[in-house]
């Protein structure tokens, strides 16, 4: 092997990668936050006894879970202009795609979590006069979140990595910048290794904190 790695190309182009990292964060955190809120709402629709709520939400969830994310992102970027005559920016298309996808996944996490809580908890809450919404907020959700924390953490990790797919519709995020630099300098080994390292540094603190939180919550039961 006569290839000699030269990481100076990474250091020289650090500002480019930093800009990419910032765009990645701008896709990642909002799509997680919005996806969790959306996921909770969809899970309520899924669990509803009203069929006009439960059936459309089921279709939504299955559509987004059973098709590749890559196609979803491309679809929002290229199909939207055709269907509704509005051209989304690549960034908006990526954010929308990942948010809707995360919504579908977290809806299932919430639904599973809520169903796993014994029926008696809802009854106990209602028996002291709580409304359904109060019982959800005070009794059911705190227990669901605790139980589902590993699943939510997993989802956060997935979305951080999935955001790299946005490079395909030329969102200037971390992966896009990495690929651009690779083909400019013909140094894919150094640059992509560095990109992988940046993803790791981005994601690891989150998983570490989630692990700590899980342990703290476990104490109360």
């Amino acid at each position: 092997m006569n290839y000699s790695p030269d990481f100076s190309v990474v250091l020289d182009n650090w500002p480019v990668l930093a800009r990419g990292l910032w765009v990645t964060i701008q896709i990642w955190l909002p799509s997680i936050a919005l996806g969790l809120i959306g996921g909770f709402l969809i899970s309520q629709a899924r669990l509803s006894s009203r069929r006009w709520l439960s059936i459309p939400s089921l279709v939504y969830v299955e559509l987004f879970r059973d098709t590749p994310v890559l196609i979803q992102l491309i679809w929002f970027f290229y199909a939207f202009p055709i269907l509704i005559g509005v051209q989304l920016t690549p960034f908006t298309a990526a954010l929308l795609g990942l948010t809707l996808n995360t919504t579908a996944y977290s809806a299932e996490i919430f639904r599973g979590g809520i169903k796993s809580i014994h029926r008696g908890q809802m009854e106990g809450a209602k028996a002291i006069g709580m409304t359904h919404a109060q019982a959800m907020r005070r009794v059911i959700l705190p227990q669901v979140v605790k139980r589902m924390l590993p699943a939510f953490t997993n989802r956060m990790i997935e979305v951080a990595k999935m955001s790299s797919l946005a490079s395909v519709i030329s969102v200037h995020e971390l992966m896009y910048q990495g690929r651009l630099l690779s083909s400019t300098y013909y140094r894919p080994f150094e640059i992509l290794t560095a990109v992988a390292f940046i993803y790791f540094v981005l994601i690891y603190p989150g998983t570490f904190l989630a692990g700590r939180l899980e342990k703290r919550l476990a104490r109360s039961s």
Partner: protein
């Protein structure tokens, strides 16, 4: 006869094709203590659960203080959530499985309804919760997690939680059925203490001995109807109906 607090007219309950309650008329007056007995599957728990709308009625009316619960529009009766919540504040319930909130301490469990439902300040809620916990003999356990308590202690917390709301009627759904035999006594003593305070209570139970001492009225439920109703002496000692006699005989089979 006193004016009834709670009245039930023509109550039916079906689960799909299964017709559990088949036309019940019933009323509760202040200070009455009613024990409901019957075989498993007789519908006694379902009957109790209809009274605070843990189950929706298939047919029939429930009246509280002379006012019908539910809103009638074009011949259809609906039960708005606000109304049901108001009913449940006044008609408290204690469950077989306690149903304590495991993510809250004992004290928080008892404060919860006061703070969230009644909108009371935490300090005041705490005061009341401590009093109720003292009443059920659990002052020592206020900061414990429910999961650390024995079944009997958990059930006493559940009773304190129900009492904190100052209900006019208390419903007990087999409160000792999931307890180890040696823990039954501590819960029955608490219920007995409430009886001495003159509270209005309904109790579904298999503890016939306790029912005899506790109740002012005993109802034997079979096949979804009131098969026999009377004083504890009438129903438990001198039952007239063959079904009741048979039920009691099976209970006494292994007595010593």
């Amino acid at each position: 006869m006193q004016k009834p607090i709670l009245e039930i007219k023509g109550l039916h309950k079906r689960f799909g094709d299964h017709h559990v309650l088949r036309g019940i008329d019933f009323s509760v007056a202040a200070g009455e203590r009613i024990a409901i007995i019957g075989g498993s599957g007789s519908g006694k728990s379902t009957f109790l659960r209809c009274m605070n709308f843990m189950e929706t009625l298939s047919e029939g009316e429930i009246w509280l203080d002379g006012k019908r619960i539910g809103t009638e529009r074009n011949g259809q009766v609906t039960y708005p959530e606000r109304q049901l919540c108001a009913v449940r504040e006044r008609v408290g319930m204690v469950f077989q499985q306690f149903n304590l909130f495991p993510h809250m301490t004992v004290l928080q469990n008892v404060m919860e309804g006061l703070v969230t439902v009644k909108g009371m300040a935490r300090e005041q809620a705490r005061e009341i919760a401590l009093q109720e916990l003292d009443k059920v003999g659990l002052s020592e356990k206020v900061d414990a997690w429910p999961g650390r308590l024995s079944g009997g202690q958990q059930q006493r917390v559940a009773i304190a939680r129900a009492l904190s709301m100052k209900p006019e009627i208390l419903l007990f759904d087999e409160p000792t059925s999931s307890l180890d035999p040696e823990l039954v006594g501590e819960v029955l003593r608490v219920i007995n203490h409430l009886a001495e305070e003159g509270r209005t209570m309904l109790l579904v139970t298999h503890e016939l001995g306790f029912a005899y001492h506790f109740a002012t009225k005993v109802i034997f439920l079979a096949d979804g109807v009131f098969h026999e109703v009377g004083t504890p002496d009438e129903v438990l000692k001198n039952p007239r109906q063959a079904r009741t006699q048979e039920f009691l005989r099976r209970f006494g089979e292994f007595a010593f």
